[in-house]
């Protein structure tokens, strides 16, 4: 039986691009601690989220945008939690050594919060990959990824999620 793989590629493309964009925006929001916006976004039901994107025709770019809006709060929350878990002594030491805030983000905060952010990205990737409800509501049955693709996506997402969230090798 010939297998049509195109929905899987479509899902992977949408999920990959949406995760990348929402990762950048989520890290920025988490860094700046814009929590009110994030909390509002998190409280939105998917149906309302869908109403933002009632465009015809429903292209994969619009699906990506929907994925980004859907994923940002999760990433922003995790990034903020990751940044807050860092001992402020490290950032203070970096400041007194003459490092700018931007350099502290890249060299100190992001590497130290990497595990939490990576785990959140993996979960978000899996969620977008297997998202059925939003696609179904927006585009109806024909465009929604078939359930088989979703299950494969779930498996991929689970593997990535586990890989990113391995137990610590040694205590700090």
């Amino acid at each position: 039986m010939p297998v049509d793989w195109s929905p899987l590629w479509l899902s992977l493309r949408v999920a990959g691009i949406a995760t990348a964009i929402s990762l950048a925006m989520g890290v920025w929001l988490g860094w700046r601690r814009y929590q009110a916006f994030v909390a509002l976004q998190l409280a939105l039901p998917p149906t309302i989220l869908c109403s933002y994107f009632l465009f015809r025709p429903f292209t994969w770019q619009i699906a990506t945008a929907a994925g980004v809006v859907y994923a940002i709060p999760f990433l922003a929350r995790s990034a903020a939690a990751g940044f807050q878990a860092i001992d402020p002594a490290y950032e203070n030491a970096a400041r007194s050594l003459g490092a700018s805030e931007w350099r502290i983000l890249w060299r100190i905060s992001l590497p130290l919060a990497f595990r939490r952010i990576a785990a959140a990205s993996a979960i978000v990737f899996a969620r977008i990959l297997t998202e059925y409800a939003v696609t179904f509501l927006l585009a109806g049955r024909p465009v929604a990824a078939p359930v088989a693709g979703g299950i494969i996506g779930l498996a991929i997402g689970a593997v990535i999620g586990l890989a990113a969230d391995l137990p610590r090798r040694k205590p700090a």
């Binding site: 490290y90 203070n92 030491a93 400041r95 007194s96 003459g98 490092a99 805030e101 350099r103 205590p171």
Partner: protein
């Protein structure tokens, strides 16, 4: 000229200090919770003050009234935090390189290697901080702080010792402000000392002056004098150059107190090692009392008597006196310090 005036009010604590900073080493001495760490953080620019002014080498780094605030990364102050501060995801060498980033590339490499050699950390340069011993982590953090060539050092680490301070002094001549709760370290290394009590500067001066002449009850207690008593002047005799001070449970004769009146309430301190302990009543200023407990120290024995009187005896004196049937404590008039 360097001058700090800093105020910060927190719900449970408020800090309000105003002091000039001389060249050389200045110790910030105080008990836990007296505001030493907060003072150093405010000076470093890591916590915003609510009011005040920082003048460093005649440049204004902070002025609340004029809304000037140079951020911590431009102050070029070296700050050593209280705990571990080496970045845990970088090796020791990468940690040092992070601090040397402002220098050109070749120069950077030379400086890092030199610092590693100087602190004898070269064999451990590829290890991560959690693989190093605590002493090596502290040395690494100091080496990293010094690589950036700070103009003022703010040290807030309990592991600072006399030899580390001497090593730092050999590398840089920058003025230094170090927080400590160790009076010996103040006397051995600091040229100037600030005694902090509940967020205020209780006394400042050279360590000798402060230890020799505490200005207030707080300073006397902070510098480890347990014998601090409140009393009133019962008699003054300028002719014989004497006075009588009545405390709650006993009275002592002291030298004449110029500028005081009969009935004045005063605080008196006396060092435990200046008290003399006798087995029988002998002479003036001798008070019969009861021994409560003896605390053995490495170099001496501290005897606690009734009414919170503490006396230090050398181990030989204690060995000779320990079978006394009764105890008499003598307050030598010359050793009484009027606060």
């Amino acid at each position: 000229m360097t001058h700090f005036r800093l105020t910060r009010k927190e719900p449970a604590f408020s800090l309000d200090v105003d002091f000039p900073l001389p060249a050389g080493m200045t110790a910030v001495y105080g008990a836990a919770g007296s505001g030493k760490s907060l003072l150093l953080k405010l000076a470093a620019g890591l916590v915003p003050p609510h009011a005040g002014r920082i003048l460093f080498d005649d440049a204004i780094l902070y002025d609340a009234a004029a809304r000037v605030e140079v951020p911590a990364c431009r102050r070029a102050f070296g700050y050593l935090p209280p705990g571990d501060s080496l970045f845990p995801h970088l090796t020791l060498r990468e940690n040092l390189r992070f601090a040397a980033d402002q220098f050109p590339r070749l120069d950077r490499h030379r400086r890092v290697t030199e610092a590693l050699d100087r602190w004898q950390l070269a064999p451990h340069s590829e290890l991560y901080p959690n693989q190093l011993a605590a002493g090596q982590r502290l040395q690494g953090a100091i080496a990293r702080m010094l690589i950036a060539e700070p103009k003022l050092l703010l040290l807030d680490h309990a592991g600072i010792t006399e030899s580390l301070l001497l090593q730092i002094r050999a590398i840089t001549a920058a003025p230094m402000l170090f927080a400590t709760g160790d009076l010996d370290l103040c006397c051995s290394n600091a040229s100037h000392m600030l005694v902090l009590d509940a967020g205020r500067i209780a006394q400042s001066g050279t360590p000798r002056e402060i230890v020799g002449h505490p200005a207030s009850v707080e300073v006397a207690r902070a510098t480890g004098i347990p014998n601090v008593y409140q009393g009133s002047i019962a008699a003054l005799d300028p002719g014989r150059n004497t006075s009588l001070i009545q405390f709650e449970h006993f009275a002592v004769t002291a030298p004449y107190l110029p500028g005081r009146f009969r009935g004045d309430q005063i605080w008196v301190a006396i060092r435990p090692r200046d008290l003399r302990v006798h087995g029988s009543a002998s002479g003036a200023n001798c008070i019969g009392t009861r021994l409560v407990r003896v605390s053995m120290r490495a170099e001496f024995a501290r005897l606690e008597f009734e009414d919170a009187v503490f006396a230090d005896l050398t181990l030989e004196e204690y060995a000779a006196a320990k079978d006394n049937k009764e105890w008499h404590v003598e307050f030598p008039p010359g050793a009484l310090q009027i606060l």
